[in-house]
């Protein structure tokens, strides 16, 4: 797979990144990206027919939690602490530029 500036921009858009307006920067970024992806293409050589994908090494995990309130110590006022972190608030709401 070859990566060019268009495909880099498309990925950036999906990931909500702004790659900036400088064409030189963008070209360099696409080249780096292309080199990395070209390296990843080595995987095509691996013989994986019939191999079950391994998504995680986790084993012997405990089951789900009960449907009960289980709060770590010192959680009082947590909602307030969370709201205090907001870059912009209206009352108890988080706030962003209007969507529609």
């Amino acid at each position: 797979m070859t990566i060019n500036t268009d495909s880099a921009l498309a990925m950036a858009r999906l990931a909500r990144l702004d790659l900036g307006a400088e064409p030189a920067d963008l070209t360099k970024l696409a080249e780096d990206f292309d080199r990395i992806v070209a390296y990843m293409d080595i995987l095509a050589e691996a013989e994986t027919a019939g191999i079950e994908p391994m998504y995680s090494p986790m084993e012997n995990t405990a089951g789900p939690r009960p449907d009960e309130v289980l709060e770590p110590e010192g959680s009082a006022g947590k909602a307030e602490l969370i709201l205090e972190q907001a870059p912009e608030r209206v009352g108890r709401f988080f706030s962003v530029p209007r969507i529609f």
Partner: protein, 487 residues
């Protein structure tokens, strides 16, 4: 005369128990050492002096409690651990003013065991990097040579231990981020089994790889630190539901009881002459002492770097989606609309390596490429796991170099991400597999830079892994103290 800050963790604990010195004296000594050396090595992002002294005095008032494993011991934690009362930044501008609303399970357990958290240490942004140069707050310096990197991403943690600021530290290892800086700085670093230590409250990079673990000056000290934090936690669903053995009081192993497998692919790799020299000597010492060294084969290891960077970046790309400037953290001022709020915030708030991995991760998961990259990499992950499992049927542990080169000059590879990724070849397969690994100093090169070697074990084998590490320590030369200009 020995200074308090020169003591290792076990010695500190013994001294406290014998009332040779108080917790406050020890804490003050470490804080003084930290303040003196910090301008040279810059290992810390936040020093929690007031809280630390307050805790120390409180512990002294109440007296020693032998049920608490880390009673009165000063430590640092990497700045990816959520801790109340100090910013938790993960080395990112995006979180430069962020205060966590809860504490990581590891931090809670450390405190419950009476540890004193002296500082939060520097790291590559969101633990993505191998040199700590991708911290938004500037690089940490190697205690052995201030013009060189400490390794990464837990570079601050390794430097704080190797620089004798604290006797122990906690870092995280996603692709080698504990073992590699430990090797480059000359301390011991333990990556526990995936599922051994709760990830709750650790800012995520690659969720199926991330694992918290200790760095210290001896393998036994790492065991003590692991003991305090390991085991089931209702807040991390991926933890193994199994009992925690005693890591502190293990039967010592005799050298001739140990068979170590040396993966051909690593030992035949292109190692830096100083690394090769130190490791050759280290190997000879083992053979002389009666250890049985055999060669083992990991045929699929050539795919490991590609598989790891695909899978870890895929996970990272969505783990970092929450940094959108809506609920917390940095937000680009006065965005025109929501799209601009997102893109400008993330472009400015996130650094170059984080953005690079987000792009890569987005690509390998995107429609049309998922099968060829993401799924294929997950299949290769199983092949590599099978290789390591097969090798471990022939020996107790695998023995491998940690890094093909010693600590490199700052700025060497900033423009060459792919080369840096490839430099993780000898650490990241263990994270693909999930087993535990221990990095131990093997000696000092002629360039006066430390070289490390690592042991890999089967899942949940930390107790015997630490015992094996103690054997290596006893046979290999003890590193001198790095000379750090103090202010």
């Amino acid at each position: 005369m020995t200074q308090l800050w020169q003591l290792n963790l076990a010695q500190c604990s013994e001294g406290l128990k014998n009332k040779d010195f108080s917790v406050t004296e020890l804490t003050e000594a470490c804080l003084k050492r930290l303040t003196e050396t910090e301008p040279a090595i810059k290992s810390c992002l936040a020093v929690l002096e007031d809280q630390a002294l307050e805790t120390a005095r409180d512990l002294d008032r109440r007296g020693n409690d032998s049920s608490r494993l880390l009673w009165g011991l000063p430590l640092t934690v990497k700045d990816v651990f959520c801790l109340k009362g100090a910013p938790t930044t993960a080395g990112s501008r995006q979180l430069s003013d962020y205060y966590s609303v809860f504490e990581a399970t590891v931090v809670r357990r450390l405190k419950a065991h009476g540890a004193i958290i002296l500082a939060k240490t520097n790291c590559d942004e969101f633990a993505m990097g191998s040199s700590t140069e991708f911290s938004a707050f500037g690089p940490t310096r190697n205690p052995w040579d201030r013009q060189r990197v400490p390794g990464g991403s837990s570079g601050g943690a390794a430097a704080s231990v190797a620089g004798f600021q604290v006797p122990g530290a906690f870092g995280t290892d996603t692709g080698g981020s504990i073992r590699q800086p430990a090797a480059l700085c000359g301390c011991v670093g333990l990556k526990p089994t995936y599922g051994r230590v709760s990830r709750y409250g650790i800012i995520a990079y690659g969720s199926s790889f991330d694992q918290a673990g200790p760095l210290a000056r001896t393998a036994a000290d790492c065991g003590r630190l692991l003991q305090a934090v390991a085991g089931p936690d209702a807040y991390d669903a991926t933890l193994a539901d199994c009992p925690v053995p005693d890591f502190v009081n293990q039967r010592p192993l005799k050298p001739n009881e140990l068979t170590l497998g040396l993966p051909r692919q690593f030992w035949n790799a292109d190692l830096h002459p100083q690394v090769a020299k130190v490791l050759d000597e280290a190997r000879n010492l083992l053979t002389k002492a009666g250890l049985n060294l055999i060669e083992v084969d990991l045929p699929n290891i050539k795919y490991a770097v590609a598989a790891y960077y695909i899978l870890a970046s895929a996970e990272a790309s969505t783990n970092l989606a929450r940094y959108d400037g809506v609920r917390y953290g940095f937000r680009q001022p006065d965005p025109g609309d929501l799209m601009e709020l997102y893109t400008k915030t993330r472009q400015t708030g996130l650094g170059p390596e984080a953005r690079r991995r987000i792009l890569l991760g987005t690509f390998v998961l995107s429609s049309g490429y998922y099968e060829a990259y993401y799924r294929k990499a997950a299949q290769v992950r199983r092949l590599i796991k099978n290789d390591i499992e097969a090798a471990l049927t022939r020996c107790h542990f695998l023995l491998a170099p940690v890094s093909a080169i010693p600590a490199w000059p700052l700025g060497s590879f900033l423009d060459d991400p792919l080369t840096v990724y490839q430099m993780d070849l000898m650490t990241l397969p263990l994270n693909l597999y999930g087993g535990p690994g221990l990095s131990v100093p093997a000696g000092l090169g002629d360039d006066n830079l430390p070289v490390g070697a690592q042991l890999w074990g089967k899942p949940m084998s930390e107790a015997s892994l630490i015992s094996a590490g103690r054997v290596l320590e006893s046979l290999w030369p003890k590193l001198p103290e790095p000379q750090i200009p103090v202010i």
